[in-house]
Each structure stands twice: as C-alpha cells, then as structure tokens.
Subunit: 658 residues, 2 copies
C-alpha cells in the first residue's frame, strides 16, 4: 500500500489544502491485500477520519492475497490406502519426525501415530505456517480479518469524512467492496470492479459463459446500476474529475462549503433565461443553460460552466449533480420530464434471458430513481456539507405491480430517512409549470426536518394530493356538475323554468331537451370542475396554508436563492459553532440569538442580503467564545450540584488552588 498526505496548490479556492491519498502498490503481487497492507490502509484512513480530511483511494488491486505454506510442499508424505494402487485414494498427509522437528514451533498442528514399520508419524491436522517466510504478510484467514478491518474502517470513513475512490485498474473482492463502502466512485473505462473473475465463474458454471471481466463489472454494468458516479476515459481525465469534485468539498469536515467569489462573468443579479414549458423538456437546460434552436444563449439557474452531473446512467427519471450558485457549491436534484427507457442486460448465464427494455414515464419516481435521490442526499450530507436544492416536479411514485414488487416502498422511504438526518440547508422549489402531488410531496415536505428544509413554488406551479381530473372524479362528480349547469347555463335555466309549469307530452319533451343539453354540456362542465379543482392547487393556497415559505417567480429565482442560500449557509455554520460551545442550545435557540444580535446591530433580519453582509462581518469564533463562558458557568454549577455533599468542599479547595 502507498499513502500520501498531500497539500494541493490549486488555482481556485481553497488555495492550499490537505488530503489523504491511499493507493495500491501494484509492484507487489499486483496490489493484493495482505495483513501489512491492511494495517497500513487502516492507519492512513484513520488519519483522514480523525482530522476530517478528504480521503481519496486509488483502487487497482487483486483482492486479498492468497497463498500456501511453500516450505511444506517438499516435506509432506502421503499415506495411500494401497501403496501399490494409488487409485484407491489416500488416508492422510503426514511428516516424518526429522522433518517435523526442523519446523519452527506453531507452524503445523499434528497428532502423532506409529507408522506401519513402527516409525513416528506426525499426521497433519492443520497447516499454519507460523515463522515461515512464505506466510509473511498473510496467506489466508488472517488476510480476511485484515479485509474486514479495512471494510469497517471505510464504512466509518464515509460517515466521518469525504471519501472518493478512483478505480484505475481492476478491483477485485475486498477491493471492489472498498469502493462501494466509500460510496463515491469514479471509474476508468477499462477498470472493472468484480467479486469473482470470469474464468472462475466459467469453471463454476461448467461452460464458457463469460468472455471478459468487463461483462461483470465494467462501466456497462456499474454505470446503469449506480455503483459508479462518473466514468472517465483515461487517468488524465480521472485526475481532472477528482480535482473538479474536490472543488465542491470543504477543506475539512467541520468547515463550511468553499464559496468562490462570484466570478463576475456570470453575476448573481440576472434572470434565469430558460423557462420550463408545459411540454417535456430536458431539465439540464435550466440547470446549466442552453443554446436554443435560433442560436440564442438561454442562461440557466446555476453559474455558467459549473454544473457537473453524477450517477448519470442510473435511475434516469431523476437527475443529480453538483453546481455553483453565485459561487456557492450546491447539491442538485432535478426531475426528468421526458419518458426514458431502462435497458436491463441479458444474463449470460441464463440462455433464456434477453435484454429487456422498460419504459419509465417522466415526472414519476421509480424504485431506482428513488434510491438515487436518497443516495445523492446521503453523499451531499456527509463530508460535502452541501446545501441542496431540489427542483421538485413529481406526479408521484410509480405504484404498479412491477414497481411495488421492486420495493418502491423501501426506496421511497429511504428519501425520508436521508432528509431526517440531513445536517445542511435544503431548498425545495417547484419550478414554473412544475407540479408536486401526493406521495411525492409527502417524502420531501419540510415538516420532515423543519430546521433544515424550506419549500418554495413558482407562481405557475401546482401542488396537491391528486391531480385535478382525479379529485373531480371523487369530489365533483357528474351529478354535481349537472347542478352547476342548471345554476349557470342560460338555456337550461329557461328549460327549468318552463318544465316546472308544463305537463304531459310537453313536459316529457322539455325533459328530453334538458337531458340532451346536459349531455352536450357535460364535457364542458367537467372541464369547469377541473379548473375549479385546479384553483385549489395554486401557489397562493400553498402560501396561505404555510406549506411553502414563499412563492418565487422563476425568472427571478437565481437572485432570490443566491442570497437566501448564502444566508442559510453562513447562519447555519454560525449555529453549528455555537452549538459546539453550548451543548444545551437548540437550533431554534441559536437562530433566535443570532437574530437578536443582528437586530441589536440594526440589521433587518427579514432581508437575506443584509443578513449576509452582517454575517460575513462577524467573527464567528469571538461570537462562540462570548457564549462559552456563560455556558461553562451554568454547566459547572449543574455538575457541582450533582456531587454528593461530602465531596463538595474538597473539590472547592482543590479548585481554589488553580
């Protein structure tokens, strides 16, 4: 194993930063994992974890190191059942006394028996290899224990700091698992991740099913299943991808995200040119901007050139990535509005299977895209400290037999679990012509984590439990629509007036006329009822009911969120510092304290722009120090009161000496 503590000198923020880089040394047994490599890996990773530094693993290995005790091969004897006919098999392997006594103690486990000619025989019960050269660094279960050690270490590292693996060569067994346990992966095209080699699988299956490792764990498998976040063509592209990703990552786990100074090339103070339409469109166009058919540049929501998509090939009804808003790094989740196809590859080991194409509608969560949403949130949350914006535009979850069977309930619930534990600000924004319904709303409502989540809607957005045609079927059915006709339609009102005075055939005729008119009008009044229902789903109602914080017009959204996100990032960082000093402070308390400080300084706490200016001028450490003393005093008093009375005066006198 190799490891470096690097200081990067990058042209952009942060100017000089440290990270831990761990790599397989492929000069030794093609980077296999033995006991020493495992311990080394663990120590290097722990350093990253304890200091909260980014940890990059360059993966190129052949898995746990295997071996046999070579020194025994020339020594053991075989007790054949019939020495004259070996074909009858053998009873046991053994050592002669002279050979046995030459071995270092503990290298074998034996039991002693007498041979046919009375000679002492040491029957082999177990081969251990203690003290043998060939077992140095491990050959068997001890390497598996080492693999367990680094598996656990990597699982913890993902929780505690920023982990990223770059797969630049074949990664086998524990190597493949280390990549997944660190979760974030960049894979080079020719570098498969595998558990068992293809040749061994062919042997197991008894036929030549597989032709390459790529069939098992190349990008064609690991991109569509979301193990790989990003694919690169070569190591140069790989290094660039790592640096790009690091530009979104704080210098250590306790630092806020690295905010660049807005470049001036793409100012915060501009419209979002691209406008979502009611027809299906590519949501990347509003994230990164686009050149339209007439060659006009339509700028998007984020800083030009800052959008990077990850997990692109998996769960394609949801789009996830990272981008900057006026220099602020953000996690991004958006919704595909177009239908996409998912290709499930054929299983080479099952001759009856074939590639299956599954069609998935836009604006709907499927099991894979729900899992992807949760995965992206988990990645953003840990080690990246990213504020997130979700451009919410979902009609719901796919609830047919196929997707219910494919555990949509589990993956949808994962979104809630990921939001509950999210530690940084989250902004939900229903974009222009977007909609958010029923189950899809439920799993991203700010009530899930009110300290961190805020919801907004464009004035042209919709939100509700069912879509209007659906609620009309339940709550505004045909009989009620007919009532509306008789109230509104002039012709029906005239007929109603006539029929009340009529009798016999005339009445029957009028009634038939009424029925005909009703039938003619029904589709029109269904449309009226649908509009009536739709009026319940407007941003005005969402704001009046307090389910959104405000309605924000699409064109102006970049301006609004630039200040809002910046305020929340600065404010939440200050809150986290205060809470570290005073353990009793809740988020709400801290926010009230900050608002009080700002109000005392005559700052308009309603204005995000003014609050940003004030927050940027604050000395965070001095503010923390100011509440530290009073917390310490209160806390010491509380602890002191918990002491048995007899212990108190003794402690006091020892404190007086300080």
């Amino acid at each position: 194993m190799l490891a470096w503590k690097l200081t990067l000198k990058t042209p952009e923020y942060p100017a000089g930063r440290e990270l831990i880089l761990i790599a397989n040394d492929v000069t030794f047994q093609a980077g296999s994992f033995g006991v020493k490599e495992d311990q080394f890996f663990q120590k290097a990773s722990e350093l990253a974890r304890v200091r909260g530094l980014p940890r990059i693993y360059v993966s190129c290995n052949s898995g746990a190191r295997v071996g046999l005790v070579e020194e025994l091969k020339p020594l053991y004897k075989v007790q054949w059942i019939d020495a004259a006919d070996c074909g009858k098999g053998f009873e046991y392997l053994y050592l002669l006394k002279a050979d046995y006594e030459k071995l270092p103690p503990g290298s074998v486990e034996v039991h002693k028996i007498a041979g046919p000619s009375g000679e002492e025989r040491f029957v082999l019960d177990a081969i251990i290899g203690e003290g043998m050269k060939s077992t140095k660094g491990g050959i068997g279960v001890e390497n598996l224990q080492g693999s367990g050690l680094i598996a656990g270490e990597t699982s913890r590292a993902y929780q505690d700091t920023f982990t990223l693996s770059y797969i630049t060569g074949r990664s086998v067994g524990i190597g493949a698992y280390l990549n997944r346990l660190g979760q974030r992966n960049i894979q080079m095209v020719s570098s498969p991740m595998i558990l068992t080699g293809y040749a061994a699988l062919n042997k197991l299956l008894g036929k030549n099913v597989y032709q390459s490792q790529d069939q098992l764990g190349g990008p064609q498998i690991m991109v569509p299943n979301g193990v790989t976040h990003q694919v690169v063509r070569d190591d140069q592209e790989g290094m660039a991808a790592i640096l790009d990703w690091l530009s979104f990552v704080p210098k250590d786990i306790s630092a806020p995200v690295p905010i660049c100074q807005p470049s001036g090339v793409d100012p915060w103070d501009r419209d979002v040119d691209f406008e979502p339409s009611q027809l299906p469109y590519d949501p990347r166009d509003f994230l990164r901007g686009v050149i339209d058919h007439e060659g006009n540049r339509m700028r998007g929501f984020f800083d030009a050139g800052s959008w990077v998509e990850y997990l692109e090939g998996w769960g394609r009804t949801v789009i996830t990535g990272r981008a900057r808003l006026g220099g602020i790094p953000m996690g991004v989740i958006a919704v595909e509005t177009r239908s996409v196809d998912r290709l499930v590859p054929a299983d080479p080991s099952n001759p009856e299977s074939c590639e299956v194409k599954e069609s998935m509608g836009g604006k709907v969560w499927f099991p894979d895209s729900a899992f992807k949403t949760a995965q992206a949130l988990k990645d953003f949350n840990r080690g990246e400290n990213l504020p997130v914006i979700i451009f919410a535009n979902w009609r719901g979850f796919s609830g047919g037999t196929r997707d219910m069977y494919n555990e949509i309930l589990k993956f949808g619930a994962m979104i809630v679990d990921a939001l509950v534990e999210y530690k940084h600000p989250i902004f939900i924004y229903i974009p222009k012509h977007g909609e958010l319904r029923g189950g899809a709303w439920v799993v991203i409502d700010p009530a899930i984590n009110p300290e961190k989540m805020e919801m907004y809607a464009d004035l042209e957005a919709r939100g509700g439990i069912l879509e209007p045609p659906g609620i009309v079927e339940v709550k505004y059915r045909a009989p009620q629509q007919v009532e509306a006709m008789h109230r509104i339609d002039e012709k029906l009102k005239q007929l109603d007036a006539k029929v009340s005075g009529a009798q016999g055939a005339e009445k029957q005729g009028l009634e038939a006329e009424i029925k005909a008119r009703e039938k003619q009008l029904l589709p029109l009044y269904t449309s009226v009822a649908t509009t009536f229902a739709d009026l319940h789903d407007r941003a005005g109602r969402m704001k009046a009911k307090g389910v959104i914080r405000d309605s924000i017009s699409w064109k102006n959204s970049r301006r609004y969120f630039y200040w809002r996100v910046k305020r929340r990032v600065l404010q939440d960082y200050l809150i986290s510092r205060l809470q570290k000093v005073d353990l009793t402070l809740s988020h709400k308390d801290s926010e009230a304290l900050i608002n009080k400080w700002a109000a005392d300084a005559n700052v308009d706490i309603q204005s995000d722009m003014k609050m940003v200016a004030w927050l940027e001028s604050q000395n965070v450490e001095a503010r923390a120090e100011s509440i530290r003393t009073s917390f310490l005093k209160t806390h010491i008093k509380e602890l002191f009161e918990q002491l048995p009375a007899a212990e108190r005066s003794g402690l006091l006198s020892s404190l007086q000496g300080k």
Copy 2:
C-alpha cells in the same frame, strides 16, 4: 386517530409493561389523514420515542384526506369565450361582488376586473377555503404537510425505539409509507399496502390491467419483496403475533433484553442433537430441532418452541428470525444450504412480460439475501437490543452479470454498515461442516466492530479465501504436483534413477514411461494438493491466527453459548450504564474496570459461568454511582480550567454558597 398508552399484563416476563398503541379511527372518512389526525399521531408517537416505549401502529386507512371547498360550488360563475356557444371554452371562473363579500376573509385569492356590463367581477386566482366548514381538518397541501410530519416522525421513531405496524386493512399512500418507515410489519392477508388504487391505475393506462388492490400490495407482493415481515390470517392471529414479537422486546429502549428463567423443560445443559451434514439440509432443523425419519426427536440449538421466523418469503438463501437460548432472546441469521427458486411475477401492465423463475444456489449471498441480512441486523439493533448469532456458512457472494447488475456490491456493503453501527453483542459461528470464504468472510469479520463481535468455528468447519480446488489452480499447479509425484511416488523415483543414467532409445522409452505415469497420477496428486490446501483452512489455523476466539464443538455449542451470550449481555449492559455516567470511558476501559472488580472479588474472569453469577449479583446502579463521583470531580476541574481566569473566583464564591 386513536391512541392508547397500554399496560400489558402478560403471563410471561415482563409482568406489567407499557406501550403506545396508535390506530386509525375508521369511523371517520375511512381513517383518512387530515391535519388533526397527523398532529395527534405525531404527539402519540413522540411520547413513545421520548420514553423509549414500544410503539405499535394499527394501520387501516385511506391515505391523505382530499376535498374541495364545497361552499364555493354554488357561487362561482363562468366567463365563456362565446356565451352562445360554450363549446368554444371558457376564460376564467369568477365571483360576483355580493357573493365575494359574503365569504370569510382569506378564503379565496382574486383579482378584480370589470365585466362586459361594467359590473365588478372577482376572478378566482386561488381557492383557499380559510374559515370554511368543508376545509376543517384539511383538504389538500396542508394534509400533505401533515403527512410529511408523521413520515419524519416515524423515520425517527424507528431509530429511537421499537416500532411495529400491524396492517389490518388497506393502507394507502402515506399509510403504506408509514408502515415501511416503521420498518417492521405484520400484514393480515386481506390487507394490501398500495400507493395508487388499481382503478386509478387502469384509468392512467387506458385499459383494464388490474383487477384488485391485492395484485399491487397484497401479501403475494409484500412477502417476496420483504416489506412484510410476517403474514397472519386474521386479527386474532395478528394480535398473537404482536404479543409473540413483544416477548423478545425490552420494556424500554434503555433496558436489556427480557431474559426468561430457563424453563426447565429445555435446559441449557444438553447436546445439540441435530448435526449439520455435508449434504444440503434445512438449517431450520438445527435452529428449532426436528423429528427425524425414524421418529426420533433431534433437539436444536435454541429452546424448544422459541424459534420464530421473519421475512420468510424474501431473500430465501438467508434465514432470519428470533429465538431464545436458555431464556435469552437472540436475533438469528442462518444460511440456506439448498438451492431455492425465486419467482419474479409478471408485470400485468406489460403484456410481453411473464413470470420468471430464477435459481439461486445454497450457501451464496445474492442481492436480496444480502439486503435481508442487513435489514435483519438493523431491526435487531434498534429498539430490540438483541444479541445476535450468525451461523455463518457462505461460499461467497454471487458475482455473475445478473447479480453484479442487480447491485450486489451495494447490498453486500450494507451488511458491513449494519455491523459497524451494531450496539449489542454479535456472535459469528461457523457450524459443523460449514465454511466461510473470501468476500463472505470479509463482510462479517469481527474486525469490523471488535468491541461487539466475536467469531467461533466448529472443529469440522472451514475458513479461507478461496475453496481448496480454487487455490490449487493458483498456488499448486500441475508442474508443482508433478514435482510432488517425483518426490513421493516409488515408481517415478525408480524411473528417475534409471533415466539419469540412460541414453538414446532407452532414455526416450523411460521418458515416455515417466510421462505416462505422471499422466496417470495427476488426478490423484491434484486430490493430494487439494487436501494440502484444505489443511490451511482448519479451525486450528483460524485460532492460531487469532481470527476466531475459539473452536467450539457443535454438540456442545448450546452449553458454551448459553453462558457466553449471558455474560456478554450482562457485561455490556453494565458497560453501557458506566459509560452513561462517565462520558470518557471507552468500551475497553469499562471492560478492564469490570474485570478488575471481578478479580478483586476473586472471580475467575476466564469463566463465563462464574462471571455470570458475579454479574447477576451486582447492583448495577451502585456500581455506576461509584464511578460517577470521580468522573464529576475530574470533569468539573477540566471545565473550570477552560474558564477565563477573571471568571473563576466569582464562580467559586457562588459555588461556596451551595
């Protein structure tokens, strides 16, 4: 919504216990979730969470409550594009001044325009319904906010206490999600969990694809996909299943598992009669015991009658459940040794799809059974506080194209993640004739969580990276096998002696004879080499390398683990109490402290039986109290030294007054 705080009087331990029971009140709109129901649910659940009490949710609901503002239906007018021909459509809905002014303030959003005859018109921009009777309790987005509230609450409840849902009627939308967010589910056969009703799906698809809700979320879907842990036929069976499950659950989250007094009927001091064979067998037979073909009762590992299987229909190459060992509740994970078939149902919405049968080998982890293993560990860990035993018997993970594509790396990694966070003792035991190889060993090695995990193997068990034939192919190939022949085989030795002195045709003849003999012997020496390799995989080597704590014979395993598990449960509970009092104590420190106390009392700390007796005689609270004072004193001193010097004397005088 309904909720009760119940005190159960059960005949078995614990005699009187409290729990929180929440149920849908189906007398009101079939148990739909409105704002008030949501708040009520949240409060009741929070009570369970704060007190750490078991929380049972009886689920039978129609999801979030929908509605329209009924009071407006008789009031609004329609502005047709052409009043004479409604078919041309309409422009907007509006209210006349008189009607508008009758409405409570805030019930609609409008803009005022002049009508064709100059009259004032109030065009509807949004319908809110503030102050209207029909919107009491919520009709739209406010109910979705409430659903979000209880979704987040339930996600937290699963982390903080024991949650169990009993699905006794159809559960829709948020109702279905609440079940999954609480994770543990008992489903009554006729009670589907659905997101969208089948009629609405048929409408969406434009044809009659589905005939029932059961096709979407009945047990035939929710059992094989592992959303449902257990199915019952009726409510009586359901209530019995809840009580059975509760018998494994501690009275609150901070209590140890409820240990029954060993019943006497099935003493700890007996053999495990059923012996695993090398041929495939049903591992349930050694868990619960079995009557063999000759009518003999072969007792299993656990107390007779205590085994309950959960998640039976999902990921069937792994078996999970709960059972008692000498009265101690345990979580259990065992391995199916037989091949099983998995039936993937046809997708009714895709006419080309058909039911697919996938065969899965025994002793192998597949994506679903890896997920199931992680799920079981998460359930055991949270709110159940269960010690776990894993009867490990895996050849590895399935690494073919199908399973690599189906995210085996993700689900395998989940096992490591679940073990890393496990807070209670875990015992890994490779049973008689069991084996544990490569990747499968890695994800359950005790190095993942050494404070909680211990590993054991039967004397007849095997552990290694590759299976012997596999390692022979890599490290003991034909040329080396031929070397062994020439060393061992008498005939070859004679030929070798002859050939060294021979020349010409004689030499060629001898060489041909040697080749023939080598060819004849090769399969026999491959078998010798395989045995040589196999000798590296014995319990003796595992113990010598320190990867297992001990080798335990299968017959005696019940006796051994009874005392070992009991010791660890009592000891770890004491450690958790000590750590709550002294925040600086590590697990290791605490264990050393307990060992010192025991040694001071002349207890043999090597003997689990003697330690159990000593631990049972301890007053845990008194032990905790004894270290509390010294921790408090040290801690107060540390905090005091962090105070600015100027603050110290002031604080001292205020403390002196106490």
